[in-house]
Symmetry: none
Subunit: 192 residues, 4 copies
DNA sequence: AATGAATGAGGCTTCATTCAT
DNA sequence: TATGAATGAAGCCTCATTCAT
């Protein structure tokens, strides 16, 4: 195993450990000491890979709900089934547990920087969804009482609602079941 | 002013200060020192009123979304307009700013105790909503494809979705507008 | 003993301890732990009085060679004996040991800030000396081949030379003896 | 280029880098990492050439003011001009900047070992100067009120005074000008 | 009841040094 | 001989909490 490969593994071990602990106990309660113990490296090594403890949390953005948004891009008619399967796919890839989603949400809430990232990502996703809904309106799938912008926004809101309610202990234990049921209602609500 | 009144005022000053700072900077970043400075009391006084710093956060539950749930109890047909006006009423009384809602959400996420409170409150609310939806189904307002339990759950989810999306920067600046628009879609989605 | 008096004593205990240790072992080798142990207070108390470890060193400026410069201001003819007695007086009040002077010199050398303070102080002292030498030249005490500015500068240099050579182990053990002998030669060198 | 030559060059690169950084930022603030980065070698290499970081500072003695003292040995009458030109020569060869002299002074102050080296060197120089002054007294160049030992000591003190005052920002920008002016006064002060 | 000085456990981070490659 | 990833002891500093006044 080459040096570079070893480095990648070390960094991964640290990230995974931090990941696990943050999601179980939250950022502030997780000590660097805990992370390195779980990762099986020394404290010095931790700071060889991350300048501060806070720097690790940025890797959490990797698993934000927006990470796979680009997959939504080439959706064609009929919109609903493909959109739904895309959303399911995103959730599937995120591989969330309730506690992991809570940790991710806390990460978003815990710093102005992360919050701004969230807003940027949300706007990007919104921009992707707008033409999709426009198209859907033209083909008669969706109500025209609401603008495509609003429809895009409500979709994101629905998605966040499912995730948040679920991570706070509500809904079905299986996130995807909950997601499908919720969007069933939602799509009916915005149908023409 | 009597001694008891003075004490109540002091406690209120502390709570309000903590309240403001938690909502602006989060729980962990807010120091007891900051709170007492803003409240205009000494550190010693703080600990005369609250055994620990964490004890203050429990007062945040005062503004949880469940605080006014009992007002939902005597809803009669037709369900939709009264339910909607109740929800609006709750939001109105909460007097949220985006940052205040973020703080409340962080408070819920930041301790197992608060999370359990949330779950208890949610279940209480759910218990209140179930007969309402049952009634609504009987009178033909709501679809019968979903159980009253599910409808209650989806309502809570919708409510949380609006609040979360909004506090993270999404939706209309006016929370009530956003709420009405969202529940319009939702009620259409669960109509019979 | 009042609270304020107690505070002054605590701060003094810390300063004195730091003072002693810095002069014996140097700034970097002295740990905050050492200081508080010697001062008989806790680490927390240290940081109640000084925001950082470095902040303590600024108190060292109190014993800089310039601290009593203002006493030079009202010197009248003949200049030499009064100037000499002033210099002796300054040294006397500084109460230097060789190691303490070394520590003070290191403090000056160890940060750009302290160095700038030194330069400022030096220029103030120089400004005080210039009219004195001007006066001394007019009354015929000093050579006119050198400007009053240069004479002031050479005086400071001589003073620093004595202190530095002495603290590095040279000269008489008694600093004042060394100072008098040196300025005897110096004043002869700049006599008219 | 032979292997030995390569090694010498590597060591020189390290020494020069350390040299530069110590003089700019001081010993403690200069990290081994900084040195090796500037020298263009790895950390491992550094420790192949020097057992510890502190070992590098001993190379600073190369540029101590005593390094060329032996040139003073065969001074003949008249003493003053030759002594002065020797001192100028020493300063010239040292090639000091103010910051470099500060670094050298800090090196002397920063360890008991270096301080002892300074004292040894000073005593050697003193031993060289004593017969010179004795000779100068016999030929009538210098006052007999002071012993040759004292004269030697005052000379060293003057030299150190010039260097210290200058490196702390005082005197002429050109060190040699400052040196000549100062020793002019000094030699007049010790003339017979 | 109010004060704020004192506490000290415990956190994050630094950095000279080692050693396997 | 050169490399640089890994190490871990040790340092500075924070801050909730206590308690004498």
């Amino acid at each position: 195993m080459g040096r570079e490969e070893k480095k990648r593994q070390t960094k991964l071990a640290i990230t995974n450990a931090a990941f696990k602990l943050f999601s179980e106990n939250g950022y502030e309660s997780t000590k660097v000491e805990d992370i390195v113990k779980l990762a099986g490296v020394s404290k010095g090594t931790f700071f060889n890979y991350f300048p501060t403890k806070e720097a690790v949390i940025e890797d959490f953005e990797r698993i934000s709900i927006y990470s796979e948004a680009e997959k939504l891009m080439n959706i064609t008619s009929p919109v609903v089934p493909k959109l739904l399967s895309s959303l399911i796919n995103i959730v599937h890839n995120l591989n969330y547990t309730r506690s992991l989603r809570r940790a991710t949400l806390m990460a978003t809430l815990s710093s102005a920087n992360n919050l701004n990232n969230h807003i940027d990502n949300m706007n990007n996703l919104r921009a992707l969804l707008i033409p999709i809904f426009k198209h859907g309106q033209e083909t008669g799938e969706f109500t025209q009482k609401l603008s495509p912008e609003t429809l895009a926004d409500l979709t994101i809101q629905m998605f966040i609602g499912v995730l948040t309610h679920w991570c706070l202990g509500g809904g079905e234990d299986d996130l995807i079941t909950q997601l499908m049921m919720s969007f069933d209602v939602f799509f009916k609500g915005i149908s023409s």
